[in-house]
Every structure is written in structure tokens, then in C-alpha cells.
């Protein structure tokens, strides 16, 4: 087994809002091994982005519990200055919205070059040269010109490539990609996913891939983590998860998506809707929507247990190992 690159344990990130405390991330454990791609799926608002931002220590929320160790260093214990040196260097991130994630008033070259200047101590000219190289690497045509252009002059796909170029410019060990293709069309998405795969192979970068698209997960990831309402509910390698999902939520999710190669029969649907964080009652967060919910589900929160090798699930149904729904 490859060495652990990132290990998040029992992470809780809460927000103080007008309506009260919002436990956006409420007990998340994630391990990322070197060079692998881990997918995090879950519905809108389940805490995927907050988890990734907390890892970068960029969340405005408050980490109330847990630890994040990256290359054996406790990120939560670093000083701001030390953390700044990790960011963009060993650990980089790309965001969902390529339209808004680039600063409109600086040129592409300035923005890519910035990280290079900071972390690699390059001069302006050197940084620019490297920026051009990076643009070429991510398949941007006319890189020498594009480098002096502004984000608004580029299309969405190009901008996302720029974001990737920026993230990859200091050869990070870990790339956190928060829904990198959600805003893009399928044909462009295919381009970007190809690019990411390619880069990963080339640089042996581990990727933490956040998405709600099970298709993307299936194509890109080695391992998958399913989140629901701030918690990890299931974790398994990609094939196991798709062929043998355990948690009722994961099962429902799998059944409810229409498939290109599927039949015309009615879709399965999980009743009810995703709870708003902070309004949860006690018990399993999925219990109100769960077909199999029993009294214990409504009373107590189950643990995330390893029910098979490398396959964990947070559900009362599997409290006794091996038992199945």
C-alpha cells in the first residue's frame, strides 16, 4: 500500500450564523494515499466544499474538532505563515466556478506566475516562462499570447485549464478539485477530465475529487467517499461502491439516476429532501428519508464502521459485521 499523504480524522467545522450553529462538516474521516484519486460525492450542502476548504485552512468556519495531517504534519497546528507556504505549493486547489475563480484585473500570466514566484523563488521573467510552459502543458493553444490576456477574454473551458495550470505550477503532491467540471459542458468536461488524468499520471499527484456526478466519480476515481449531511456515510473503492453499495442513501442514489444505457422503467426516488444543516434532529441524519429506518435510527447516530475490507459504512443495518440489508 502507498504511503498516506493526507489523513483527516474526526473533522468538525461549524458555522456561527444568524439562525444558529450550522454543523456543515460534522465528523469526517478521509485518507488520501499518494498518487491516488479519491472521489467525494454527496448532495448539495452536504459539506464537501467545507471539508476541502478546511483542509486548505481557508474556511471561514470554525474547526471544532478533528485533525488534518498532511505528509505527517498537523496542518491545524501550523502557523499562518507556515500554512501559507504549504498552500499552492505542496497542496493546491481548483474550484468549481472557473468564471469567478480568476481575478478579473490581472493577466493570466500574472496569476499563474504569482504562485511560482512565491513558492519557487523565481524571478518575474522566469515565472512568466514557466507560466507559458504550464499553459502549454494544459493544452492551451497560443500560450504566448494567452499569457498576457485577461480572464474575461477566455472561454469557460480555457479558464478551467488556466486554473489547473495554476494549481499544478508548483508540482503539488495533492490537488483538491472541488467540482472542477460542474460548470462545464459535457464535451468540455471530457477534455478537462482527460487532462487531469494525464497530469496525474505524469506527476504522480494525488487528487481529492469533489463532485456530485457519479459518472465523473466512476471514470476518475480509485476510491470514493459518500457524504450525507456533514458526515461520511460510506467509503469504498470505486468498483465495490458501484457494484455493492451498502448505505441506503448510496443505494438510493445509484438507483435514482437515469442512465444512458438504462431502461425506460420508473426511476427510483428517495423520498423527502436533503435536510438543511442545523435543523437536524437526533439520530441518523438519513433516517427521515430511509426506507429501512427503525427506532434506533431515529434515536442514535451510527458509527462509521468497516464492514468489509476497505469498505466502511455508517448505518445501523451493518452494526453486526457482514450482515446485509
Amino acid at each position: 500500500m502507498k504511503p498516506k499523504l493526507l489523513e483527516i480524522k474526526g473533522l468538525k467545522t461549524y458555522f456561527q450564523t444568524e439562525e444558529g450553529v450550522v454543523p456543515a462538516v460534522d465528523g469526517v474521516d478521509i485518507v488520501v494515499y499518494e498518487g491516488e484519486t479519491v472521489g467525494i460525492v454527496g448532495e448539495s450542502g452536504c459539506g464537501k466544499s467545507v471539508t476541502s476548504l478546511t483542509t486548505m485552512r481557508l474556511t471561514p468556519g470554525k474547526v471544532v474538532a478533528g485533525s488534518i495531517s498532511f505528509q505527517e504534519r498537523d496542518l491545524l497546528a501550523l502557523s499562518d505563515e507556515e500554512m501559507r507556504k504549504v498552500r499552492g505549493n505542496e497542496m493546491a486547489m481548483i474550484f468549481q466556478e472557473p468564471m469567478t475563480s480568476l481575478n478579473p484585473v490581472f493577466t493570466i500570466g500574472q496569476q499563474i506566475g504569482e504562485a511560482i514566484e512565491i513558492h519557487m523563488q523565481y524571478s518575474k521573467q522566469q515565472a512568466r516562462a514557466r507560466a507559458i510552459d504550464m499553459l502549454k502543458l494544459v493544452g492551451i493553444p497560443r500560450a504566448e499570447q494567452i499569457v498576457d490576456e485577461y480572464p474575461h477574454q477566455l472561454s469557460g473551458g480555457m479558464r478551467q485549464r488556466v486554473m489547473i495550470a495554476m494549481a499544478m505550477s508548483c508540482n503539488p503532491k495533492l490537488l483538491i478539485a472541488d467540482e472542477p467540471t460542474t460548470a462545464l459542458d459535457v464535451t468540455i468536461q471530457a477534455q478537462i477530465l482527460d487532462l487531469m488524468r494525464e497530469l496525474k499520471e505524469k506527476h504522480n499527484t494525488a487528487i481529492m475529487m469533489i463532485t456530485h456526478d457519479l459518472g465523473v466519480v466512476a471514470e476518475m476515481c480509485d476510491r470514493v467517499i459518500v457524504m450525507y449531511a456533514g458526515k461520511v456515510v460510506e467509503e469504498a473503492d470505486v468498483v465495490t461502491l458501484f457494484t455493492n453499495p451498502k448505505h441506503p442513501y448510496t443505494q438510493g442514489l445509484m438507483k435514482s439516476i437515469p442512465r444512458l444505457n438504462g431502461t425506460d422503467e420508473r426511476l427510483y426516488s428517495i423520498k423527502g429532501s436533503v435536510p438543511i444543516p442545523g435543523t437536524l434532529r437526533k439520530g441518523c441524519t438519513f433516517a427521515p428519508r430511509c426506507e429501512y429506518a427503525t427506532d434506533i435510527c431515529r434515536q442514535e447516530i451510527p458509527e462509521l464502521n468497516e464492514i468489509e475490507d476497505n469498505h466502511s459504512c455508517r448505518c445501523w443495518l451493518y452494526e453486526a459485521k457482514g450482515e446485509q440489508a
Binding site: R84, R87, T100, N103, V105, E114
Partner: protein, 306 residues
């Protein structure tokens, strides 16, 4: 960029024409007969008619307007009824005081407002932020003329530090510029704060942080430059407020500027002077806003390509 400048310049023309039409008709809507005023109280009806004819006031309005504009293009704003000097001369004689006052007030506004705004925005909801914003609310609520009086009371009467009026030198402009600039600086502070806060929560700022950019640079490079657009706009607009406020400030501080000239002209019913000076101020304001628009091009690369 050049094409953009030309385009913007061309866009100003209709506005200026509109402005000239508006002032022209505004003044002509005034009750009272300018001919009568010029001819003097003892003049007979024939004499008044003579003056009217001489001034072309018997012609239809559009003809008068045409003449007015053609004179305007020659730089001729007419002759003051009061001083019998060309209005343009009267204006140019006073404009330096007004522009000195306004520019100093802008300086006050920018220095205080920008600083306070950034200061607040970088510590949102802290005690200091709340105090700054409360103070700026007070600032906005202060009438300029009252603030001026209070400054006189304090600095001229009680402390005897600065002159209370006149326009013979820099020191004479300090109090008026403070009075004029302070409430605008409060507005600027609030706007700077809110636009900084708005920008600071945007995705690209997060991107900058994710790159490992130093916090100082995040604020002053990535955030401020983006927040600058509304800030520059408000500076342009506040220039108008300051020009308007100059009327009051000049009165309070006995500065012989354009504002006071306008007041005097109004009190004197010196129509050519009112018309000329208001047009002049409006033109200055339009030009300043044009310059502000051009500044966008420097601040925001997206503007040029619109």
C-alpha cells in the same frame, strides 16, 4: 484604449447639449423680464422693447437657443448683468478658489475615507469596525455648513489656529476643505468597506489565498484593485457633491469662489451669470466623470472591450 476614449468623449456631447438646453430653458422659465432688469427701473416701455430687441429676446426661443449655443462654442457665455464683465471672466476669476477647495476636499475624502474603509473591511464586525462605521454614519448625517461653523468655532474662535475665511492662501482652505471633505469621506469609507468586503468574499480571492499569497497582498493587491471600481465611481460622483457643497462652504467661509458667485448671481437675478456658471460647473462635472470612466480602463481590463 484610444478608441474607447474617443467613444466616451463622443458620448459626452449629447449630455452636454442636454445640459445646455436644460439650463437655457430653466433660466428662461424664470418669471421676470431680463430686458426690464437691464433697461433699469426708470426705463420706458419703448426703452425696454429696445433692449429686448437688442438682446434678441423678442425672437423665438429656439432661435435664441441657437444663438446661445453658437456663442457658447465661441467661449462666450454672455455678459454679467451685475458686473458688466464677460461671464467667463467672472467664472475664471473664481474658479481657482473653488477648484482648490474641491481638490483639497477630495484629498481629505480619499485619504480619510479610503484608509478608514480598508481598515474597517479588514476587521469586519470588530469593535473598531463598528466604531468606524458609526462615526461615518455621523459624518454622513452632518450638514456641511454646520460642520463648517463648528470648525470655525473651534479652530478659529476658541483655539485661534486657523483663519475662518477668505481665500488668500493655503491655510485659508484647510478648514473649508475639512468641512467639505469629511462627510464625503464618511461616504467613501462606507463604500470602500462594503466593496472591499464584497470582493474579499469572492472566489478569486480564495484562489489567491489557495496559492499561498501573503495576506497583505491578498488585501491590497487582489482585493483592493477589484474594489476600486465602485470606489473610483463614488469619487467621481462625490466630486459633484463637493462642487455643490462648495456653494455652502464658500458661504460659510467667505470664500469668493464659483459657488458664492452663483448665489450672488441668483440673488441678483443675474441670469447670464447663473446660466453660465451652472453650465460651467455641470461641464466640469461631466468631464470629471468622463475621466473617472477612463480610469476604469486602467483599473478594470474588461471595460475597454465592452
Amino acid at each position: 484604449m484610444f478608441a474607447y476614449i474617443v467613444k466616451r468623449l463622443l458620448q459626452v456631447i449629447p449630455t452636454l447639449i442636454g445640459v445646455s438646453i436644460l439650463t437655457f430653458f430653466l433660466i428662461h422659465a424664470v418669471p421676470g423680464d431680463p430686458a426690464r432688469m437691464i433697461a433699469g427701473p426708470e426705463a420706458s416701455a419703448e426703452e425696454v422693447a429696445e433692449v429686448r430687441e437688442h438682446l434678441g429676446l423678442d425672437q423665438p426661443l429656439y432661435v435664441q437657443y441657437g444663438k446661445y449655443v453658437s456663442n457658447l462654442l465661441k467661449g462666450d457665455l454672455g455678459v454679467s448683468l451685475r458686473s458688466e464683465r464677460p461671464v467667463l471672466d467672472e467664472i475664471m476669476g473664481r474658479f481657482p478658489s473653488t477648484i482648490t477647495l474641491t481638490v483639497m476636499a477630495i484629498a481629505v475624502m480619499v485619504v480619510i475615507g479610503l484608509f478608514a474603509g480598508i481598515f474597517s473591511a479588514t476587521r469586519p464586525n470588530s469593535l473598531i469596525d463598528n466604531v468606524t462605521m458609526m462615526v461615518s454614519l455621523f459624518g454622513i448625517s452632518l450638514p456641511v455648513f454646520w460642520l463648517g461653523l463648528m470648525l470655525i468655532l473651534l479652530f478659529s474662535y476658541y483655539l485661534n489656529l486657523l483663519p475662518s475665511g477668505g481665500n488668500d492662501g493655503f491655510s485659508h482652505f484647510i478648514l473649508p476643505a475639512l468641512a467639505l471633505g469629511l462627510s464625503s469621506s464618511a461616504i467613501l469609507a462606507r463604500l470602500t468597506r462594503s466593496s472591499m468586503l464584497e470582493v474579499i468574499n469572492q472566489d478569486f480571492v480564495r484562489t489567491a489565498r489557495a496559492k499561498g499569497v501573503k495576506e497583505k497582498l491578498v488585501v491590497y493587491k487582489h482585493t483592493l484593485k477589484n474594489a476600486l471600481i465602485p470606489i473610483v465611481t463614488i469619487i467621481g460622483l462625490e466630486f459633484g457633491t463637493l462642487l455643490g457643497g462648495a456653494v455652502l462652504t464658500e458661504t460659510v467661509f467667505s470664500i469668493n469662489g464659483l459657488g458664492r458667485f452663483i448665489i450672488q448671481s441668483i440673488q441678483f437675478r443675474d441670469y447670464p451669470s447663473i446660466q453660465g456658471s451652472i453650465l460651467f460647473v455641470a461641464a466640469i462635472f461631466v468631464i470629471v466623470n468622463l475621466l473617472v470612466d477612463l480610469c476604469y480602463g486602467l483599473v478594470d481590463p474588461r471595460v475597454k472591450y465592452e
